[in-house]
Symmetry: D3
């Protein structure tokens, strides 16, 4: 069936990724934005922070990175050098992804790229690009949420 073919496509051996995580209890929160930027710069696919509680009433942060296995060394190096963490753990994950293509729709104030995602040949999400909408909001003075709504409305008429 289409479903089982799809599952095969999604999980070939070479589409394995790693989640790399460190629990950090002794670092100023000020520098996480910089660390996230550096991790994206070496190829991290996603970086996120989770508030956690560690021993001795510490409101700590779990730093998580999703990356391809060939990024592990670079991610390790950044975490050990830029954070106060002296160790991290990692485990493999598979991924299931929708297919994506882009269209461009024109609004009176400029163009917006729109990501059209499909699963098993059926559109499953329509998402105007955040940065394009933000630029129009800043230029036009319109609320950003309205720019997003107008772009979505336009894209829904097209696709």
């Amino acid at each position: 069936t289409a479903t089982s073919q799809n599952r095969q496509d999604e999980n070939p051996k070479d589409e394995r990724f790693l989640v790399i995580e460190a629990n950090i209890d002794d670092q100023t929160p000020e520098i996480y934005g910089y660390i996230m930027d550096r991790l994206f710069a070496v190829g991290a696919l996603d970086v996120w922070l989770t508030p956690i509680i560690m021993k001795k009433n510490r409101p700590a942060t779990k730093l998580s990175v999703l990356a391809a296995p060939n990024c592990l060394n670079k991610v390790t190096e950044i975490i050990l050098q830029e954070t106060t963490s002296i160790g991290m753990r990692f485990y493999p994950v598979a991924r299931a992804m929708a297919d994506r293509e882009f269209i461009v729709i024109g609004l009176p104030w400029g163009d917006v790229k729109v990501k059209i995602s499909s699963y098993q040949g059926k559109i499953c999400n329509v998402a105007p690009e955040y940065e394009d909408c933000r630029k129009i909001a800043e230029k036009s003075g319109m609320p950003l949420k309205v720019v997003q709504q107008l772009a979505l409305k336009e894209a829904m008429s097209v696709c």
Copy 2:
């Protein structure tokens, strides 16, 4: 030993499960309750949400689903169609579970099912069912916490 037998029981090959996760930064929080209901309806064993922080100061949500491997296709379909996420990751987990049986205890306002859990032949938890207690609280006007305490007290006298 009992312990090692127990461990064998808990982790046979066919008791592997999946944790399926998506980081979601562009969806209205309004609809997570509905999505959780839909995921439970297709057989998810547990569904939970974690507040996370993603790039660009986004207070995002990690959606996590625990499910048997044969649920993966249905869970994938719901996540891709019902959320704004266009991808998810998943990894296998083993489970260790206590043995469970149920007794019914009678309170003046109605019956309450009580879950008695055991580990290595020894009771490890006694838990009155939430929905039974809630119904009695609503009917009787008693505080729900008191209904739970009375049911627990009764069950502890019995088991």
Copy 3:
């Protein structure tokens, strides 16, 4: 009525308290436990931490202190000297409290103080003291939750 008398009792002018708060984005989480101890030591009635998100993707912490107005100077001094915060805000709050008295119940492994709270002459909560239960759990090897359940069961039979 009893209700309106009760409300008068609860909110006389001299029962006003302060909530004192600081958003902290540049301090190691390691030392919050110590800071909490110091705040309790100068008379804080409660101290709690809330995970928040500040500008530039900072997973910061809001430190909150509930204290009587005559504690404000001491709390201010501790926050400014022990944390990296250089400012705090505060606002007055009223409090509504249940009446409390204590009983002592005997378990086979030792005594447990139990706090009986009442509102408008009616018992509203029965709570075995955590530290008493913890000591029995440590001494007896019983699970702490079971000690709490046994103490609660015993107290419910008495009051």
Copy 4:
């Protein structure tokens, strides 16, 4: 100016509300949903939960209620009887609200009420009612997010 008139409208003396809060560290999380329902039933305007950290490594919950002052007694009674909290604090807040009116738009699968909010005579938000959209999603099998998007698109064409 319109602005200052508006501010007067928003903050007359009789539009003061209370935020009533309790830090709860010794209650099963199971029953918060029930407690929220009970608080809304006596007139609470909003109820929300915040994860906090209290002394001794306790991952506690702050329960917050927004209510009119004449609800204080009922809210106090529910918190003291239904939760394990034996005290709460409260403080007055003013509110600034947009004006709201409702329209109904027709989708092929049913009607959806849409809340049109305005500030200073200008539309500031267009929000299809969640429950109406949910019912259509359940009946039609369409994703809830798509029902919301279609309802929003329709409403934007009208207002």
Copy 5:
């Protein structure tokens, strides 16, 4: 005494501020960064986000703004037009602030402004400016945490 004078300085009538808050359960998290920028641009002194749980299993966000009272209209306008919130609440807070002055210390890679804060005539915090340290880290390739440590070490030798 110095203390009481200090308290008078800190809380004159014209140093009252407002905390303005909205619970938001139906907005894409994507745009909070933009909203925070806009709020700072009209004079907000601080903006922060707190993960909260609202009815119907919604992982919502509380938006909080600290601002002078004369900013209320502008903050109200931004919240109502840029977020999906249709109402907010606010309450007055006083502030206690340390005195602040700045020194500049020279590192081999550039200058760093350092904020020296004092309370009652005694230094209570020494904080190298984040942006200055970040620029040096980017230019030199040194870890940002090391730049901060070197700047702090240098400043401690001077003041």
Copy 6:
């Protein structure tokens, strides 16, 4: 290269660990501190708590334990007997760790052990031990953060 040798050192077969997790929605938060202590006592390498949201508006807690595989039975036993959880899941993780050695630096009020961590032969973190600094802060009355800063400054001059 040094890098690949290092990676081999870090991930030999016998350096695999487990993350063991339970979602807990029906336990008093009061006892997590005790449970964490018990888990560390049987050899857990790290224990942390994450605020999560489960079905029916439950502000629950995810308990996570990092442990060597030979600790699994003891960790399982503690979780099943001390918490209300009746099941847990676990998955293997690898670890990448910096090399660590300790130096002792003398402050006027006492000695402080300092952990010097290195990655690929290069120092990547310098961290005064929390408990040593806390003792000096308590004895001397100096702010803990200042003791940490002085110890760090001293250690940076040495290594």
